[in-house]
Amino acid sequence: MSAARRNPLNSAAAHAALLAYVAIALFPVFVIVINSFKDRRSIFREPLALPDAESFSLIGYQTVLKQGDFFLYFQNSFIVTVASLFFILLFGAMAAFALAEYRFRGNMLMGLYLALGIMIPIRIGTVAILEMMVATNLVNTLWALILVYTAQGLPLAVFILSEFMRQVSDDLKNAGRIDGLSEYTIFLRLVLPLVRPALATVAVFNMIPIWNDLWFPLILAPAEETKTLTLGSQVFIGQFVTDWNAVLSALSMAILPVMGLYVIFSRQLIRGITSGAVK
């Protein structure tokens, strides 16, 4: 280990920098959460004060929970996010395996074509997407969102995963072939577990934008029964009056599931990193 890393002063400075970053990153979340537990007047009078006996109020949560459809929105968001992630990882890994593993004509062009999507925002095609969804009767279904998000996430997934899959030892895959494993078994049992950190990375990258997206839910699935959480929370934001208690409470609750998913993926991520380092 280098002398610079052993020096306690340097170590303290590094930790100070990291702690400062954490404080800056968490501050807005912190403000949202504390204010969601305060009554309306206290939110505006002292936005940074912690809720005390006088200002504590659950009125926001009561409003949100009384709004009967809120759990449905939650469920919709969850279904869309999890299903999209599943398809992104499944199809992304399959395409990446083919690109990394097999020599075929046009392999390189196919890889470039798939990577092109990283540079072109999918929202440019919104009108065409909407026309397609209308033509296929998918408007106001969760499938419309799942399909769009899968398409949106695939380019980066293919790009990252194929790079990682190229690093998986050829010998290992060949040993599997000699032992009579099918290509599917090699893909599922040998290669996928070894690129698990990359899968977790792709999942985390895609999860937050999908969960937070307002654009496509608003255009493709604005119906009451398919509203997502972000879209549903908009009912509390009016042109003239905004129910801040309800908005802050809804946002506080919206953080929880996505945080749960993140914890699951990040544990995979860390496990992947350490298992590689100890080897």
């Binding site: 010998d171 060949n174 040993a175 000699i178 494993l181 049992r189 577990p193």
Partner: protein, 336 residues
């Protein structure tokens, strides 16, 4: 019966010819070593035999049957890789049993074969561990065990010792030789290390640029190399090559002489100064720089006091020398 026949095998990746017209026969129970510098195509040839690559043209026959279109798992072969290639999620026992399970072998047969391989390779204490918990040498033994349990007609080894340290390499080399004696199966072994080739092989195949340079027993190749490349590749330290004209030979030819065939005398034909001395204890390598700027290695048995910078004269018996023409081919008619 023959274990393997290669007929006119060629392999090219696009415009690059990696293997050119390889013909080879491996008898049952024979230990054949493919040796050559890196990039000579030896690993590709092994992968063609295994079925991991398709030959561009030519035939591969294993145990009398043409296997060009047979998948690797059904060719009756087993392979040991340089990087061990153990399945990280399976224990040692499961690693060895996997191929048999895939073939649908009855459970009691699998257990018996795994037990036999475990005994042979002394893997008993590690059976329930995962590859990550084993040392390099242990992993390579598991990889060999995984090959042994299949009872293949043909073993393929792809530089199996390259990742081991020197002492372990020698121990494992002896283990592989013992394994070959006890199994009496044909083995093909790829290496770039000429010591492994010389010590293990019944038959050495020297490859260069995708072509077979010479095939023969280790001593045949050592005593009677077909060309300058084979002469220079086998033997350590390598053979010395000198301009034959300066030593009374034909012009344009190169004279090759092995370091152990040179001796230090008072009045030798090669004169120069000692540039470096390597004392190995058992023997001594003296590097002499001649007047023409050529470096000649002399190998003297035992310990030999010698100082850098003193002048030295070297001599040799003409019977020990080889002559090569400018293109590298042997000049003298080969003695019977």
């Amino acid at each position: 019966m023959t274990a393997l026949v290669l007929k006119d095998v060629c392999k090219s990746f696009g415009a690059v010819d990696v293997l050119r017209n390889i013909d080879l026969t491996v008898e049952d129970g024979e230990f054949v070593v493919f040796v050559g510098p890196s990039g000579c195509g030896k690993s590709t040839l092994l992968r063609v035999i295994a079925g991991l690559e398709d030959a561009t043209s030519g035939d591969v026959e294993i145990a009398g049957a043409r296997v060009n279109a047979v998948p690797p798992a059904k060719r009756g072969i087993a392979m040991v890789f340089q990087s061990y290639a153990l399945y990280p999620h399976l224990t040692v026992k499961e690693n060895m049993a996997l191929a048999l399970k895939q073939e649908g072998t009855p459970r009691d047969v699998i257990a018996a074969r795994v037990a036999e391989a475990t005994r042979m390779l002394e893997l008993g204490p590690y059976l329930d561990r995962r590859p990550a918990d084993l040392s390099g040498g242990q992993r390579q033994r598991v990889a060999i065990g995984r090959a042994v349990v299949r009872q293949p007609k043909l073993f393929l080894f792809d530089e199996p010792l390259s990742n081991l340290d020197a002492s372990l390499r020698m121990a494992t080399r002896i283990e592989i030789a013992a394994l070959h004696r006890s199994l009496s199966a044909a083995m093909i072994y790829v290496t770039h290390d000429q010591t492994e080739a010389m010590t293990l092989a019944d038959k050495i195949v020297v490859l260069r640029d995708g072509r077979v340079e010479q095939i023969g027993s280790p001593m045949e190749l050592y005593n009677n190399p077909a060309n300058r490349f084979v002469a220079g590749f086998l033997g350590a330290p390598a053979m010395n090559f000198l301009d034959a004209a300066t030593l009374g030979g034909p012009g344009g030819a190169t004279l090759g002489i092995r370091p152990e065939h040179l001796r230090v005398t008072d009045a030798g034909r090669i004169k120069g100064t000692v540039a470096h001395v390597e004392n190995l204890g058992g023997d001594t390598n003296i590097i002499v720089e001649t007047g023409a700027g050529e470096r000649v290695t002399v190998r003297v048995f035992g310990q030999y006091p010698c100082t850098v910078g003193r002048s030295a004269a070297l001599d040799f018996d003409d019977a020990d020398a080889f002559l090569f023409d400018a293109a590298g081919a042997r000049l003298v008619a080969e003695p019977a």
